[in-house]
């Protein structure tokens, strides 16, 4: 389809190579394995492909969306995609040849810098796959640093993050994973205190947690440090426009799903794994990092650096096996943050906070019960008088995606709906949803 050697080209090339047919070039493959049959549908022209893909995309429904749960709908300024979809960024590879890749390298340096500024952390990697895998890598790094075996994690982590944590860590023989339960929607501090025995490498807590609640990150972090363990924070990066930052409460590692920074939801992927840590742990960071270097003339330039951590140098002793990351999503994030600046990020985070609370007030007025009383950011739990699943199904027919059914993760919460309100929702949207929710 996209090959362009003509039959004349082919003939000349074969004659230079000294073979009479292309098939001869495949002589090393056993004859009986060559040219099997392929049962493929008819090939589509570009025109037909467009029609086919449009038809598929139209089979997806457009909802007035109130689902968050780790993937949020946010406004993406047009300049973000207009810039990141430029072929110069889109069709370049990992910047191995630094002198011909300064554009990509500088954007990664600016991404690392912007995230460090937003998180108040010292070091940020070039990106990881997603929030969940970044968390798993942070726990592995914390384990290597502390050389202790137990990893505690709050039950308030996203259920997918917990599963990924298990997948990654259960295979490392020296690691023991232990969940710290919730109490009233927050990490149970007494239970944490009890679990913080001497052999704890780190404690991983999400703030806001999966139920939308703001955990007392300062207190949890302090308690962790007092026990000699490291604190791994999972945060919502956009929320840091207003919320206390991991650097401020002293987190050792802070990871996040960065999709909310200028990346579309895309059915959950690609996401943007953000990995940050304190300076002391820079040599435990998985994957690429860009740093400033000097060229022969002493001019500032950018390169991939500290590569001795990585798989292509250290092989089985590498900090991680990661090679490809999510550079383009990181580019979207840094363009987004550059467009917003310090005021814009505060503005959009404030708007999320304020709209979500406006909506909560509407629901309270309508007689709904809000499950947890603690402070929240843009997501909270509504208790309805039937199963959340039923509400979701009924509202789906009205074009509203009502939220996430918490019954999926906890039988006790089957009447609970996790609702996310972002800046994309107008007051009229909130009223429409509140109205539809009356009677439940």
């Amino acid at each position: 389809m996209f090959t362009s050697n003509t039959p004349e080209n082919e003939k000349e090339m074969l004659s230079k190579i000294g073979v009479s047919s292309i098939k001869e070039l495949f002589k090393s493959i056993p004859e009986n394995l060559l040219y099997p049959s392929f049962n493929l549908p008819a090939a589509l022209t570009e025109d037909a492909l467009h029609k086919h893909l449009h038809a598929l995309a139209e089979k997806n429904k457009s909802y007035l969306n109130f689902i968050g749960a780790g993937c949020e709908e946010h406004f993406i300024p047009a300049a973000v995609n207009a810039l990141s979809l430029r072929g110069e960024f889109l069709t370049a590879y990992t910047p191995y040849q630094a002198e011909a890749s300064q554009g990509t390298l500088q954007t990664i340096y600016e991404f690392q810098s912007s995230i460090c500024a937003l998180f108040n952390m010292d070091v940020c990697s070039a990106s990881h796959y997603d929030g969940a895998t970044a968390l798993a890598e942070a726990c592995l790094a914390a384990q290597r640093v502390s050389n202790k075996k137990k990893i505690l994690f709050s039950a308030g982590l996203h259920p997918h993050y917990k599963e990924v944590l298990h997948t990654y860590l259960k295979n490392v023989p020296e690691i023991v994973l232990q969940e710290v339960p919730l109490k009233d929607g927050l990490t149970d501090q007494n239970a944490l205190q009890t679990a913080l025995a001497e052999d704890v490498a780190c404690v991983a807590v999400a703030g806001p947690n999966f139920l939308g609640q703001l955990e007392p990150m300062q207190a949890l972090c302090d308690a962790t440090h007092q026990a000699g363990a490291l604190f791994v924070a999972v945060v919502n990066p956009l929320s840091l426009g207003v919320l206390q930052t991991p650097g401020e409460y002293g987190a050792d590692f802070a990871v996040a799903e960065g999709q909310s920074l200028g990346n579309a939801m895309h059915f959950g992927g690609p996401g943007l794994g953000i990995f940050t840590c304190k300076q002391a742990y820079v040599r435990q960071v998985p994957g690429r990092i860009v740093g400033i270097a000097k060229d022969k003339d002493g001019n500032r330039s950018f390169v991939l650096t500290l590569q001795a951590r990585e798989q292509h140098i250290r092989r089985e002793r590498a900090a991680s096996n990661i090679c490809s990351n999510e550079a383009l999503c990181a580019l979207n994030a840094v363009i987004y943050l550059t467009l917003l600046g310090p005021e814009g990020i505060k503005e959009v985070a404030s708007l999320n906070l304020s709209r979500a609370h406006e909506f909560k007030e509407m629901l309270v007025k309508n007689g709904h019960k809000i499950k947890f009383a603690g402070p929240f950011y843009n997501e909270f739990v509504v208790e309805v008088n039937t199963s959340a699943q039923e509400v979701i199904e009924k509202l789906e027919t009205q074009g509203i995606a009502a939220g996430y059914d918490l019954g999926q993760v906890c039988e006790n919460l089957k009447n609970c709906l996790l609702v996310c309100v972002t800046e994309t929702k107008s007051v009229e949207d909130l009223q429409k949803y509140a109205q539809a929710l009356r009677g439940f």
Binding site: G291, R314, S324, L340
Partner: protein, 482 residues
């Protein structure tokens, strides 16, 4: 002039207090009126303050400091930098796909699910394998998924003693790194003189402790693993599984099905073989395909068809678990689906055929200048080496930098590790003879320069925005942020 328009000024250095690129509505209430003070951040983040125009110019000008596939021949071996059709960018970004929430009611995401299901089916057909997961976010992530699939398989069979993964010395660094992450001991084996697996060496280390043998096919010196079927039998006789690293699948696409080699599992790189762009480092996508006996151990969920409906199949009791949040890098999967829908049985073979033709053409034309390390027809890429006695002290890195001056991105260098001063060239099927002739001309010109004016090559690049970068200077006192 240069001082006025400083070429690599950082955004933060262009920042002017009070400038804005985008505005949002004012919120009805201020954060301090909603949340307790201790929940709030204390100081504003140090982010650049720029107008939209400033931002657009900043990033547009940065983009122009990149070589990329759209502007340059990019023969980066093992990375399969083939053309990324523009239609796929548009189609993967259609609002119906881009706005789909991963937890949306499944009735509302039938389009995405149908596409993913059909992509699984197409990948099964082109590889001959029985089941696929689309979850892994990259090739290395696919490797981890594959090795953990094997681990779950052996656990289910009570074979806990299998604690080793065998990896040849030609493997990508991700193979041993992956095995280590999965909790396996890595056993390295040397390659034979012809660049393929040394069967005797393999037989020596195969035992009831072996869980998996990881092979790249074609291997990283660009040769088809000629004894692959026999190797598969040896591996199976030892009760172990054979994993195929599919980084080089482009050499086989439409010409052979890996399942017929006797492999148990493999990953594909959708961002290499299936025309999705690499985005300067990712996102990629590394689906894993397995033979029937391993299907139940794949990550959950997979996409299934029940009647006329497409569903996420979460009930998989023997699954290894989840390997990432949600279901995969869907935007990349959509591009790969588009790619496969533009080929049929007759035309798919053009991918491997033209890729192999192009690589051999370059290999043969450069034979007297930079000879192939193994003097044999190659597959989709050729690995060249230097005639040391003629090089006047010039090394592969110098040649790579000089190529940039000639307007070509550099091949992969110093890999595989068993080839001294390796130059690994992968033209891909989307290049044509005219471009390859230009590239060969440049390589020959550099060869002449090495003889007549080696200093020029030694000092390269001379015509880039920056001169040769001293990589060590970055690691000495790392400056990783403003």
């Amino acid at each position: 002039m240069q001082d006025i328009m400083k070429k690599n000024a950082l955004s933060i250095e262009k920042s002017v207090s009070g400038r804005r690129g985008v505005r949002f509505e004012q919120s009805a209430k201020l954060p301090q009126d909603i949340l307790p003070q201790e929940c709030l951040r204390k100081t504003a983040p140090k982010l650049p303050e720029m107008s939209e125009l400033d931002t657009v110019r900043h990033f547009t000008n940065l983009s122009r400091q990149n070589y990329c596939l759209d502007s340059h021949f990019y023969p980066l071996g093992s990375c399969t930098m083939k053309y990324n059709p523009k239609a796929y960018d548009v189609l993967s970004g259609l609002d119906g796909f881009a706005s789909a929430h991963p937890f949306a009611p499944q009735a509302g995401v039938q389009g995405t699910l149908e596409l993913l299901y059909n992509l699984q089916e197409l990948l099964k057909e082109v590889t001959g394998l029985s089941a696929f997961t689309l979850q892994p976010a990259a090739g290395a992530h696919g490797e981890l998924t594959g090795i953990l699939t094997a681990k779950a398989y052996f656990k289910a069979h009570g074979e806990h003693q299998r604690a080793e993964v065998i990896v040849p010395d030609t493997a990508h660094g991700t193979n041993p790194a992956t095995s280590n992450m999965a909790g396996y001991k890595v056993v390295n084996i040397k390659s034979a003189a012809d660049g393929c697996v040394d069967k005797e060496a393999l037989q020596k280390v195969l035992s009831d402790k072996t869980a998996v043998v990881m092979l790249t096919v074609p291997n990283t010196v660009g040769l088809f693993e000629k004894d692959i079927c026999e190797i598969a039998k040896m591996v199976h006789a030892a009760g172990a599984l054979l994993y195929m690293d599919g980084a080089n699948f482009n050499a086989l696409m439409g010409v052979a099905k890996p399942a017929s080699f006797g492999i148990d599992m493999m990953h594909l790189n959708l961002h290499k073989s299936f025309a999705a762009p690499h985005g300067g480092g990712g996102p990629g996508s590394g689906p894993v395909g397995v033979a029937a006996h391993l299907a139940e151990f794949l990550p959950k969920p997979t996409v299934a068809k029940v009647g006329e409906k497409f569903v996420l199949q979460e009930t998989m009791p023997n699954s290894l678990g989840k390997i990432k949040a949600f279901y995969g890098n869907i935007a990349v999967c959509i591009r790969a689906y588009c790619f496969l829908r533009q080929y049929d049985e007759k035309t798919l073979r053009q991918v491997a055929e033209q890729a192999v033709l192009n690589a051999n053409y370059v290999r043969v034309l450069l034979k007297d200048y930079f000879p192939a390390f193994f003097d044999a027809p190659c597959m989709h890429e050729c690995v060249l080496s230097l005639q040391k006695e003629k090089m006047n002290g010039i090394r592969t890195a110098d040649i790579a930098k000089r190529l940039l001056d000639y307007g070509f991105y550099a091949p992969t260098i110093y890999f595989p590790l068993i080839v001294p001063e390796a130059i690994m060239i992968e033209p891909t099927e989307t290049e044509n003879k005219e471009m390859l002739d230009l590239f060969v001309k440049a390589m020959k010109a550099i060869f002449e320069e090495i003889i007549s004016e080696p200093q020029t090559v030694h000092d390269a690049p001379l015509h880039q925005l920056v001169k040769r970068i001293d990589e060590v200077s970055a690691a000495r006192e790392p400056n990783l942020r403003w």
